[in-house]
Amino acid sequence: MTTVLELRGITKAFPGVLANDHIDLTLEQGEIHALLGENGAGKTTLMNILYGLYKPDDGEILIQGKKVEIHTPNDAIAHGIGMVHQHFMLVPVMTVTENVMLGNEPTRSGMFLDKATVAARVRELSEQYGLEVNPDSYVQDLSVGIQQRVEIIKVLYRSADILILDEPTAVLTPQEVEGLFRILKTLIEKGKSIIFITHKLKEVMEVADRITVLRGGRTVGTVSPKKVDTAKLASMMVGRDVNLVVRKKPAQPKKIALAVQDLYVRDERGHLAVNGISFDVRKGEILGIAGVQGNGQTELVYALTGLLPIEQGQIHLVGRTIRRLAPRNVMELGMAHVPEDRQRHGLILTFPVQDNLVLCNYYLSPFAKGITLQQGAIVDNGRKLIKEFDIRTPTAAVNVSTLSGGNQQKVIVAREFSRPIEVLIASQPTRGLDVGSIEYIHNRLIQKRDEGTAILVVSSELDEILALSDRIAVMYRGRIMEILEASKADKEYLGLLMAGIEASKAVKAGPKKKEPGEVERVF
């Protein structure tokens, strides 16, 4: 085996933080090398340096033993490095061919784009690596899994030997993950080398030849998956022993708080995104909605919160129908919503923490008298909730933009939990958070359940769904495939449902017996 890539002492500081602190890494020919770490450990920064998107403050990069300078993505591409980004770098309104050729366009008569040649090359690569991509499709019409393959083709089209995959499994179904791993194996068989960035322990154990763990911008160590277990990796990653289970008592469901009957919803483009859904959520239970993103979950939540009109069907919130109600009316009936994109939808970043804490009820007593705001009450409320929810902020008057992601999420949780609510909808409640914040949010959700609130958790992280839910509904193309008891659900079976394979056709893997109250923690 030969070393194809070596990073020595890579250091990169951003204002106020050392993102990479003398990181070393070697990549051997034909291996899958996992780069493991929490959000914010510096994985993506490191790879962006390697790809020429950031300039390192210190350190050197060697390719095939020779020192190289990488200042732009063009340099990286010229050295045979290709990157599959976490957020796909694809132009949705263009075809696969156009996306692949972008930046490296062959021409006819020296001027006109030669799409035919590129399309042929895409077919060839697709066949060679078993990718099954149609060069003429528009990217916006492709599923996330296929889009990822387009990214891989882009890299292969540029004859890369070193592939960097940044959190490639975050958006895939378990089956798609399997497919991706098969593709990765094919790639290394044909002589490519791969750096695989992730924060998911089990995937690392499954696919990696070697694992380098990063924490707080430093290398913790490089290990072989054969010599460690997930608990050891977890503690390397987090820096302390981690409790791998969520402890919760069995649910005590009471009467129905939210009932949805035969619901149809159109998205903003006028397509039916929710296609006849019925379910209900009882007080004191958590219903998890699993599914690959973009299968109507967002529109379902929008309809429930009054953000999108209902095309047909009924929603009953504590006995009242919500149809043609504005978001505020729904809220006043006792609906709370933790939105999936906290910075864009949940917070006003340029407002102080205390104002964000009254964003839904600033117009009610004691925060307002008539139309005049009662600044005193708003400040008091801010101080109280900051203490109660352990929000780390210098004062209640600083802008919420200065808080960390975890604390921003706590601001939203504090705001929604402190109101009198009947039903809570939490969309992707822990996306992008560190382990400590994930633990905190999960415990708060379970505590709220035990207080008798009906909770709907929407998440594309299957582990999170399994950890929190009492019952699980799987959504696929705007329909609910099946609603099942969490204790009877397992990952394989849910994965099949998420891929749209119906229960009758699915080979039912025998439901494993699990101790109630012990569910594996999410990473």
Binding site: N74, M89, E98, G103, N104, F112, K154, Q261, L272, N275
Partner: protein, 420 residues
């Protein structure tokens, strides 16, 4: 519980209803406004010739009332068909039919007992559409790279002034044209530096340049031009060059092929930009930069450079538009002579869905509204000319509502790109 029928996956039936009613309403309006106000037996004459062509077409003479009734019938027929069957797939077609019937009825009514040179008006339409089209093309080229340029008005004003002054001083209209292009490039480059290098809000920068352009041209005009007209502000105009053979085609010839150099340049630019934008690497990169700059960046495309180049080329096109106001039509500069054409051009760009050909066609629409109001003033229509003069502005506002086909701008349009 009885299961309801699932809603259809196609567009809501509301749209069918709305378009159908619009068509019926058009028919009703034609009847109420025009049929009622006309007398039986009147005739409207439309001139179909302008200058010399290979052979002359006889004038079109229409009996007013029967023609109006026919138009009422057409819109009512389509309205009923739309309500009953939803025959017209897109709202655009319905709107086109309704507005065509209405405008045709208006023309017939206005020309009752009189003569009206239709070809002349369409020739005027093209002429009036040119500055709008050039402004729209400037918008297309920079917004495809995600830079909003509302400074077009200011650019055109400045270029209008510099071109006429330089042409008067040198006695060469060609010099005037070149100076106009350079002026446009220079001011656009200034806008580009402000929004790309200094990350100024794109609309604020555009407004500032408009204020600066208005102020500067008025300053120069009142300080120098008004007192030295013959020395500085009297260049003469570009000659009308009839294209051999083509200009001899009846109807089309005089409408399209009897214009000045700038008009032909505009035709060529529309075709050229269309090809460049959709069939060349430069176009592919431009569109990628406008849709997803980061993706372009990761593939080694220089986002900033692409934007600079596009904004500056756009500026030159707007500069050409500026020259059209002075050396292209009247041969002198007047304060604020662009009269909002730069902004109307932006509306044309939006209506044309950010494509060169679409932008040009919608510019023709605005040019038509403009040309129509001028002709109507001559025809002594019993509507105050000031109200007719509002037509282009009102058309702009209607177009912007997107009732007739909503367009989606380039995804990154107006957003600052931060290179990490």
């Amino acid at each position: 519980m009885a299961k309801q029928k699932a809603p259809s996956a196609s567009l809501p039936s509301r749209q069918k209803l709305a378009t159908g009613i619009t068509l019926l309403l058009a028919g009703l309006l034609i009847f109420a406004l025009f049929v009622v106000n006309s007398q039986p037996g009147q005739q409207a004459t439309f001139g179909m010739n302008l200058g010399e062509t290979a052979f002359q077409i006889p004038d079109l003479v229409l009996p007013v009332q029967p023609a109006l009734y026919a138009l009422v019938l057409i819109s009512v027929f389509f309205g009923a068909w739309q309500l009953a069957r939803g025959g017209l797939r897109s709202a655009g077609w319905a709107a086109a039919i309704a507005s065509f019937c209405f405008v045709a009825a208006f023309l017939i009514w206005a020309a009752q007992d009189g003569s009206f040179n239709l070809v002349g008006m369409l020739n005027g339409t093209v002429g009036r559409a040119i500055p709008i089209a050039l402004a729209a093309l400037c918008g297309v080229i920079s917004e495809r790279a995600a830079v909003i340029n509302i400074a077009i008005e200011g650019i055109m004003l400045m270029a209008a002034l510099t071109s006429v002054v330089s042409a008067t001083l040198t006695g060469s209209l060609l010099v005037g044209l070149i100076v106009a292009l350079l002026t446009g490039a220079l001011i656009a480059a200034f806008h580009a530096v402000l929004v790309i290098r200094f990350k100024v809000d794109q609309i604020v920068s555009g407004v500032a340049i408009n204020i600066f352009g208005t102020g500067m041209t008025s300053f120069i005009s009142s300080r120098y031009l008004e007192s030295n007209i013959d020395l500085l502000n009297n260049s003469g105009t570009l000659k009308v060059i009839p294209i051999p053979v083509l200009s001899q085609i009846p109807i089309l010839g005089p409408i399209l092929f009897e214009h000045t150099f700038i008009v032909y340049m505009t035709f060529i630019l529309v075709a050229l930009l269309h090809v460049l934008l959709f069939y060349t690497p430069w176009g592919l990169r431009t569109r990628a930069v406008g849709e997803h700059p980061k993706a372009a960046d990761t593939l080694g495309i220089n986002v900033f450079l692409t934007r600079y180049v596009n904004v500056i080329i756009g500026g030159m096109i707007a500069g050409l538009g500026g020259a059209y106001f002075t050396i292209g039509s009247v041969g002198r500069f007047d304060q604020n002579m662009t009269a909002g054409k730069g902004f109307i051009g932006l509306a044309a760009m939006i209506f044309g869905k950010w494509s060169p050909i679409g932008a040009f066609l919608s510019s023709l629409l605005f040019g038509f509204a403009d040309s129509l109001q001028v002709k109507m003033q001559i025809l002594r229509v019993p509507i105050p000319s000031e109200f007719l003069a509002m037509a282009p502005y009102i058309v702009t506002m209607i177009v912007l509502t997107g009732v007739v086909g909503r367009a989606i701008p380039p995804a990154a349009d107006g957003a600052v790109y931060e290179k990490q």
